[in-house]
Symmetry: C2
C-alpha cells in the first residue's frame, strides 16, 4: 500500500503549520519561524488508511515522520513471524529517526492517520544547526527510554493479570492526556496487537479482560472503549514499578 501524499507549496507552509492541530504537542513547537519554514519546505503530508504501513523494518531510512492524527503501532518482527509490539503512538509523536541506514522497526496505522513526512537528509541538516531541536529530541528519546524500561520490567517480571492491568492503566492515562474521557481507555488496537505488546496470546488477554469485567474492575464503554470502574483496584493489580 502506498500512502497518498500532498506536496506543500513553500509559500503555503507557514500557514498550514499555523493551522496544524498537532503543532503544540509536536517537535515543531520549539522551532522559530525561519527554522519551521526550513523544516516545512520539503515536507509532505501522508494520509494512511487502517493497517497501512508508515515505515517498514529494514527499509532504507529515507524519512522521519511526525504524527498529526490517528494512532500508530510500532513493532519488530522475528525471522519466523513472531512479533513484538514496541509501543503505540498518537498525535504529536515523532518516529523514524535512526543512526543506521535502515529502519529498525515497522510502523503501521491502527486508525486512519496523518503524518508530516520530512526527508531524512534535510532533517539531519536542520538538526545539526538547531540545538533547540536537538535538545527536544534528546528529551523525547529520554522519555522513550523511560517507557521502554517500564515495558521491559512488565515483560520480564509481571504476570498476565499485572500486564493487562498495567496496560489498561497506561492507556487510560494516555487517553486522558490526549483529551479523551477521563477514566476511559481508548483501545484502537486488536487483541492480537495487545497480546504482542504484552508478550501474551490473544486468548490470555481476552481471558484476563473478561475476568476484570466479571469482577467489575472495568466495563465496556463501546467499541474499543474500556471504562475503568475501580481505578484503585486496577492500580493494585498492576504493581506499577
Amino acid at each position: 500500500m502506498r500512502a497518498a501524499t500532498l506536496e506543500l507549496e513553500e509559500t503555503v507552509c507557514p500557514t498550514l503549520c499555523e493551522a496544524c492541530d498537532a503543532r503544540g504537542v509536536s517537535i515543531c513547537r520549539v522551532l522559530p519561524h525561519p527554522q519551521l519554514r526550513r523544516l516545512a519546505a520539503p515536507a509532505a503530508i501522508g494520509d494512511y488508511a487502517i493497517g497501512e504501513t508508515l515505515l517498514f523494518e529494514g527499509d532504507p531510512a529515507a524519512h522521519v515522520l511526525n504524527i498529526t492524527e490517528g494512532a500508530v503501532m510500532l513493532s519488530k518482527g522475528l525471522a519466523d513471524g513472531r512479533r513484538q509490539v514496541l509501543g503505540f503512538l498518537f498525535k504529536g509523536d515523532f518516529l523514524g529517526l535512526t543512526l543506521t541506514e535502515t529502519y529498525g522497526l515497522s510502523a503501521q496505522a491502527l486508525t486512519p492517520a496523518k503524518a508530516c513526512r520530512f526527508p531524512r537528509a534535510s532533517f539531519q541538516r536542520l538538526l545539526r544547526e538547531t540545538p533547540r531541536l536537538e535538545e527536544e529530541l534528546l528529551s523525547r528519546a529520554s522519555d522513550e527510554l523511560v517507557s521502554a524500561r517500564l515495558h521491559l520490567t512488565l515483560l520480564g517480571r509481571k504476570s498476565a493479570t499485572e500486564r493487562v492491568a498495567t496496560f489498561l492503566g497506561c492507556m487510560a492515562d494516555r487517553t486522558a492526556t490526549l483529551g479523551g474521557q477521563p477514566g476511559t481507555a481508548h483501545l484502537p488496537m486488536t487483541r492480537a496487537d495487545i497480546a504482542d505488546y504484552l508478550g501474551l496470546t490473544t486468548e490470555t488477554v481476552s481471558r484476563v479482560i473478561s475476568a476484570l469485567k466479571r469482577q467489575r474492575t472495568i466495563g465496556q464503554a463501546g467499541r474499543g472503549l474500556v471504562r475503568i470502574l475501580d481505578a484503585q483496584r486496577l492500580e493494585a493489580l498492576a504493581e506499577r514499578a
Copy 2:
C-alpha cells in the same frame, strides 16, 4: 555503602583527563579543551567495590556518571522485591541522565569499578551550551533505544534457550569490542543477575547453559568466562531479530 571519592584539583584535571584510559570511548571524546576543563572542574572520581551502589532508584538525581573501569549493572525493582535487570555497562558508558528529579533505575558495580562523577546542574548547564555534547548524548540515547527494543523482543517473544543464546552472543560481541579474547564472553554477573536480565529463573539459566555445554556449543574458559565453540549454532539458536 559510600564510595571513596577523590576531588580533582582544577589545575590537575586536564592532565588526568589526558591520561584517562576511557577518554577515547567516553562522551568527553567530543569536547574541546575549554569545555573539557569545565566538565572536569567540578568532577570527582568514584571508586566502587563489588556490589556497591553507584546510584539508587528513587534517590535525588544529583549526579551523572561516566564509567572508566569495571562492569556495572542497571536494574529496576518492583514493590514486592522482583527485579528486572535492564542492562550491563562497561568502560565509556554514561549513566544517570534523567528529566525527572529522581533516578528511575539503580546501578551497582559487578566488579571493582571507577566512574567520573559530575554534578547534574553543572552538567546540564554545559550541555545546554555545547551542541556537540547534546548530539553525542542523542546518539547514545538512540543506541540505547535500539538495544532496549532488542531486549523487549527477547523478553516478549523468545524461549528460554533463545534468550540465553542471544545473551551469550551479545556478551561475546561486547567482550570483543572491549578488547577481550574474540570468541569468548566475559560474564562478570551471577546467574541471578542473568536470570533477572532475561526474565527467567537462575535454575532455568543454569539448565540452558548446561545443555549448551553438553552439546558443545559453548565451553567453560575459566571463572566467568564462556568460550563460544560453535558460533553458527549459537546464532541459529538465538533467532536474533
